[in-house]
Symmetry: C2
Subunit: 211 residues, 2 copies
């Protein structure tokens, strides 16, 4: 299943949940497409990956489809993750309420700054988490069988953190640190750099200016 499809499934899911609440029985690919901002063809292709069983001439059964998407996304089980580097970005993640509905649970927060250790952050409803010293990271990850780590540290410490995470058993890393990370075979890293995203926009804007 393409990453692009995985990225769209949660959006379909949100629509499907709303539809189920309103009591709708079926939904057309075009309806979902409209809400998510893609074409009907994309929706049908995406749903074919989750093992779709719509009815030609009718549409998709809302409830069953919703269940299919839920299992495809692995929302049956909770996914534990740790966040390393509790600056503004780390805080934003720790307090992000959107994680709950995706069964993503921030179970550990880590930072090297002694002043931060012991502080509890996050939403009271979704559970506060205490910031722990970086030295406890490896043991914590191993003990709690965490497989997902977020690196929100400055670039200089990112590689060291990645080494810690991977050696402790993390297989998936979200890298917010704007550096390339070297990781062992089998570990998947997704880099996200907001400065780069804006840079791309700036180049587009500059081109538009010329035209």
């Amino acid at each position: 299943m393409p990453d692009a499809t995985i990225a769209r499934l949660p959006q379909y899911l949100r629509c499907l949940s709303q539809l189920e609440n309103t009591g709708a029985q079926t939904v057309h690919s075009a309806d979902l497409a409209g809400h998510v901002g893609v074409s009907g063809a994309v929706v049908r292709r995406d749903l074919s990956y989750v093992g779709s069983y719509g009815t030609r001439g009718v549409g998709y059964p809302v409830a069953q489809l919703r269940q299919k998407v839920i299992t495809a996304l692995g929302l049956a089980t909770e996914h534990r993750l740790v966040v390393v580097g509790i600056g503004h970005m780390g805080r934003a993640l720790a307090g992000y309420s959107g994680f709950a509905e995706r069964e993503l649970r921030v179970v550990g927060l880590f930072d090297i700054d002694p002043d931060l250790i012991g502080t509890k952050i996050g939403e009271a409803s979704t559970g506060m988490v205490e910031i722990q010293p970086l030295t406890d990271l490896a043991a914590f990850v191993a003990d709690h069988e965490v497989r997902i780590g977020v690196i929100a540290t400055p670039a200089a410490s990112a590689q060291a953190v990645a080494d810690l995470l991977t050696s402790a058993g993390v297989t998936s890393i979200l890298n917010l640190s704007a550096t390339h990370l070297a990781v062992p075979e089998g570990v998947v890293v997704r880099p996200v750099d907001l400065a780069t995203e804006i840079q791309i926009l700036a180049v587009h804007a500059a081109q538009q200016e010329v035209r």
Copy 2:
């Protein structure tokens, strides 16, 4: 020029700047490739977009190449941007020191919360910026000819903010709000949703678990 290439150019640039400081005259595609984590072929292809003039058998002249990359990225002129929605994410952006070296300048911060209005945030070195009420957004964008906007509001208000931005002249939007935005023709939106990124990692991790 592909977006993927634009995204890599700043990374090459960082290497080139370092190399220039160390006094290196030339650099091989393989050297840059190693630092950025791609193949030499990608580097050469990318550099061909910026109008490369390396020497076969020798490599690229560091100083000239650096200049070429700088102009390709439009770093000659400063790009002004506004951030709407000053939660943790908005704060992270406002205070992000990496913007300076890319000539990205946060000139306006906006929020709807009256308690935040007037607060100044950002790094003292790169310039503090005061949070203004959302009602002043359109006028500010038009007056200061801002072309780039970042939406870091909750999903519910994102579309309204996008409408405000585009009608005031913004042509490029970074959408951190996890919703699809409908915008006029010609406006480019880049969606970034950290929850979705982690979701993709979670699906990969789950698959790995099974294997």
